[in-house]
């Protein structure tokens, strides 16, 4: 293979690497939704941080709602659902399952802690 062809082949790989580097700036937090809790159910992030919440429902199409940031999503069984978040205020904010999932539904909640 000549050098020119090598460069052509490498170029897309370089682009992918750059994209991967750019995406690294988003912190991905994996959350499992299971009757009747989120794991983890306390999430700590920084104000202004680019975060992706990757939520996976394992036993019911739970909901995810973070009302203070007007974010909600219907989760899909065994398929991660990604929710972007860039908190613009500090404090503690509740999130919850908002698709009724059974006898412990009312306790299926968590806290997002946003620090400076």
């Amino acid at each position: 293979m000549n050098n020119k062809r090598r460069l052509l082949l490498a170029a897309p790989l370089a682009s992918v690497a750059l994209m991967a580097f750019a995406k690294k700036r988003e912190r991905v937090i994996k959350i499992e939704a299971r009757k009747f809790r989120f794991a983890p159910n306390v999430i700590e992030v920084k104000k202004g941080e680019d975060v992706v919440l990757e939520l996976t429902a394992v036993d019911f199409p739970h909901g995810f709602s973070l009302p203070d940031f007007k974010i909600r999503a219907d989760l899909i069984m065994d398929k991660p659902v990604r929710v972007k978040l860039k908190p613009d205020k500090e404090g503690q904010f509740g999130f919850l399952c908002d698709n009724f999932c059974g006898s412990g539904h009312e306790e299926m909640a968590g806290t997002l802690i946003v620090k400076a």
């Binding site: 203070d68 919850l96 908002d98 009724f100 006898s103 009312e106």
Partner: protein, 293 residues
Amino acid sequence: MMDRRDFLRLGAVGGGAVFLSGLYGHALAADGDDDFYFVQLSDAHWGYKGPANPEADHTLKQAVEAVNALAQAPEFIVFTGDLTHTTDDPAERRRRMAEFKSIVGELKVKHIHFLPGEHDASLDKGVAFIEHFGPTHYSFDHKGVHFIALDNVSDPGARIGEAQLAWLKEDLSRQAKDARIVVLTHRPLFDLAPAWDWATRDGQQAIDLLMPYPNVTVFYGHIHQEHHHMTGHIAHHSAKSLIFPLPAPGSQERRTPLPWDPAMPGKGLGFREIEAEPKQAAYQITEFAARKA
């Protein structure tokens, strides 16, 4: 938060708080319509077992006795949802509904309208509820008042849904603009406390459909406490439960039940009488404890 003085007059009758809600002095009304009263019971959660109500096997029966002991029988009774406590087992759900039906069968007043709560209907989209109690949304008329029962629980995501909203629009289109309208539902139609799931996802669409009608009042359950709120000219009144009280909206981090008080069993539980005055488009609410004094 509304200023009660804007629309409620507080008094006291028979040991219970009395609220007068409506539009006193507002226009007119159909001559010949009589005052009447009905009873609202809510959130019995039959089948619940837990520390928040160690007497759960008795509370509903006590409420039935208390309603039967009212000095004057109501013309009808409404149950605004969560008749039973949820269970994943469809057979157990039906058993609880059958038991509930048998207990409320002891009510002297046989004219009863049932609505589902999410504990009754969300896990099977209302199938078992319909088998035992009939449709989950409907309307009826009583002495000049048009009652509309809205289902915001058969969808586990707390939506009324496009089909039912279309039905509501069509039902309302047959009403005069000054019709006396009472909406019965389980969840609050407005965003009372979304962080506690105390809302209806498309409730604002129902409110928007109701807004052109000046005489609308909503009675609901779900939050296990008395609460009064205005969206424009529409008053929303939630009822106490027959199982355990919940904290005031947003008053603590979690919506955990208030602890049972052995010194005051049944504290915070109750039902209400609603005296409808169609001519004035007014509703007088009297709260009662869940058990006879």
